[in-house]
């Protein structure tokens, strides 16, 4: 009886030890993945910052204005404003 109990206890101890290590390794893997992703997010957000800065640099008025000029565009002028009633009469004429 006692021998049976001891054998069972040993088996249970072994099983829980294996289980513990399996869970522990899983946790470590998830932690690794987490830190990999965190550093990837950090890297990507740095890339985004750089790309935003580059886009702003390419969009700066100093550069866009001559380019828009080549496409025949002009600065906004006061005459381009219309009131809703003017729009209405324009449509009726058409």
């Amino acid at each position: 009886m006692l021998r049976m109990f001891i054998l069972l206890a040993i088996a249970a101890a072994l099983a829980s030890a294996f289980r513990l290590y399996a869970v522990s390794y899983q946790t470590q893997q998830i932690a690794d993945q987490n830190s990999r992703m965190t550093s990837e997010i950090a890297k990507l957000s740095q890339d985004i910052t750089i790309l935003r800065a580059e886009r702003t640099y390419l969009m700066r008025p100093e550069r866009i204005e001559p380019l828009a000029g080549k496409l025949g565009m002009r600065p906004v002028a006061g005459r381009q404003f219309m009131t809703p009633s003017e729009l209405h009469t324009d449509q009726r004429q058409r």
Binding site: L20, Y21, S24, Q28, A31, A42, S45, Q46, T49, I50, R52, A53, E54, T56, Y57, M59, R60, P61, E62, E65, P75, V76, A77, G78, R79, Q80, F81
Partner: protein, 546 residues
């Protein structure tokens, strides 16, 4: 074998129990340790190195009112050396010099020779490509640290306003300094994590670019040495565009120290000439000393001393009304009006308008006005037409806004209220009556619509511009520079419901064409007109075309 002595048997059993106990304790401690190691966070591999020298700061972005970036932190590589691990300081520097020219070899050689030091910056803020080339040299004892560096993708646009940061990314001037003082920067040792809320300015990037382009055009057209301009919301004091040319590069703090790149809007004070007559007349109207119809005999010059008399360029042959004095810009008239009010009252009024003390702005204080030490009859007369009191143009624009917005004081602001520390709107402080303000608006509009008005070249179809010219002799050490003038135009639009004031100042403009004149009506006024024509639609002011 002798029969077991009961005593011996008992002591043997005790020994067995003791051995079991010790073994059990040992195994269970091993087991507990295993469980602890299995469960504990793996903090074992982490090391923390504190480098007191290698600190830097992460800063929030600076963006315009619509989110266009003016300044942002970009992660860059910074190269440092650990002298203890260098093979040879001389050789390392020689090799490094092949890809990184311009390092201070002589200085670094002595620093790197000291092997007790463990950390020496070689170059901060390297591009990734350059960092790779240095890495490829395979020099031992060199390493990189990534750290945030300020970058200004708009280049020189609004450079004076943005200010500068130092090598550690701390703000030293302009809005960058404001961030350190009021918004907060974050001390970082390694790469910064997470994004900070951007600081929104009141500036409108397209309007700012248009203002700078028009000022640059005016400088070319009139061969002017410098120029400044500001577009300011008359009610809130929010500055939509502010420029001083030549512009400053936020990325180059050294260059900005040269006098040539002085911020002529905030940090320079000038006698602004006849635009001050607006203030003089507002003062007298508000004190009920005159109405716009009161007549003054301006035919005789005002004699201030035996050597110094005030006269007009084209003396009138009859007494002029206040309206005529304003439109014809009579110095004698302005002087007589100021004398009627009196010097003490004039001083009090200018103080109330905030023209006698430096004002604080989000981008630092303005240069302190040059106020005469004694305020006698001569000062009263000369200040009446804008000489003898030098103020920063931004300060005048803010005071001028109060004259046309119905009469309440405004403080120029560069940071949008939602991101500013002062979220509460300050109670309005009245400086002149609404009636006086309406009179001033009418006079300013008349100066643009009248065929003899000095501001007629500033008119823009649909935008009801009102304004006043000022042509002042430029002060230089110990008197006036006989030849050079500062031409300015102070404008407000649309006059029926003022939204913005514009103040343009051209330094030392030259006559154009056959004309020999450099008066503001020929240069500053048309420049202000061009600025309003471009900026008003961008700021959403709907013109009255019919």
């Amino acid at each position: 074998m002798p029969a077991a002595d009961p005593n011996t048997t008992r002591s043997r059993a005790l020994r067995v129990v003791m051995v079991y106990g010790i073994l059990g304790l040992g195994f269970s401690s091993v087991g507990v340790q295993l469980v602890r190691l299995g469960l504990a966070e793996r903090a074992i591999g982490k090391t923390s190195i504190s480098r007191p020298l290698a600190k830097t700061y992460a800063r929030p972005d600076i963006v315009d009112r619509n989110g266009n970036i003016f300044a942002t932190d970009v992660v860059m590589q910074s190269l440092f050396a650990d002298p203890a691990n260098l093979l040879s300081a001389n050789e390392t520097l020689a090799t490094l010099n092949t890809v990184l020219p311009g390092i201070d070899t002589a200085h670094l050689r002595s620093v790197l020779a000291n092997r007790k030091r463990r950390f020496v910056w070689l170059r901060r803020g390297l591009s990734p490509a350059m960092a790779q080339r240095i890495h490829d040299l395979g020099l031992p004892g060199l390493d990189f640290k990534s750290e945030p560096k300020r970058s200004y993708p708009q280049g020189r646009i609004a450079g004076h306003l943005i200010g500068h940061v130092n090598i550690d990314n701390k703000g030293t001037a302009g809005i960058e300094h404001y961030i350190d003082e009021h918004v907060g920067i974050e001390h970082v040792v390694a790469t910064p994590q997470g994004r900070r809320r951007a600081l929104h300015l009141t500036i409108d990037l397209p309007a700012q670019a248009a203002l700078e382009a028009e000022l640059a055009g005016a400088m070319r057209r009139y061969s002017s040495t410098a120029a400044s301009g500001v577009v300011l919301d008359v009610d809130t004091g929010a500055v939509r565009a502010a420029a001083s040319l030549p512009t400053a590069d936020p990325g180059n703090p050294l260059e900005a120290q040269h006098l040539r790149f002085l911020d002529r809007l905030k940090r320079g004070t000038y006698e602004l000439g006849s635009i001050f007559k607006t203030v003089t007349i507002a003062m007298a109207l508000d004190n009920r000393k005159i109405t716009t119809r009161t007549k003054f005999d301006v035919r005789q010059p005002i004699e201030l001393s035996r050597r110094f008399t005030i006269s007009d360029h084209q003396p009138a042959d009859r007494p002029l009304s206040v309206t005529e004095i304003f439109v014809r810009s009579s110095n004698v008239g302005a002087g007589l009006i100021a004398l009627k009010v009196g010097g003490a009252e004039q001083r009090r009024f200018l103080a109330k308008l905030g023209l006698l003390k430096a004002i604080k702005t989000d981008a630092g204080p303005t240069a302190a006005p040059l106020v005469p030490s004694s305020w006698g009859r001569s000062e009263t007369v000369t200040i009446a037409y804008g000489h003898g009191l030098a103020v920063a143009p931004l300060q005048f624009a803010a005071a001028g806004a109060a004259l046309v917005n119905g009469g309440h004081a405004v403080a120029p602001r560069f940071v949008k209220r939602s991101s500013s520390i002062a979220t509460k709107r300050a109670p309005l402080r009245r400086v002149i009556s609404a009636r006086t303000s309406a009179d001033i608006r009418r006079l300013m509009r008349l100066n643009v619509t009248s065929p003899i008005g000095s501001g007629r070249r500033a008119d823009v179809e649909g935008y009801e511009v009102g304004g006043k010219t000022g042509t002042a002799d430029r002060a230089s050490t110990g008197g006036y520079d006989g030849d050079a003038v500062i031409a300015s135009f102070f404008a407000v639009f649309p006059i029926s419901k003022p939204r913005f004031v514009v103040l343009v100042t051209l330094h030392d403009p030259k006559p154009t064409g056959s004309s020999k004149k450099r008066s503001a009506s020929l240069n500053a006024a048309p420049t202000a007109g061009r600025i309003i024509k471009r900026v008003a639609p961008l700021l959403g002011v709907v013109p009255k075309l019919r």
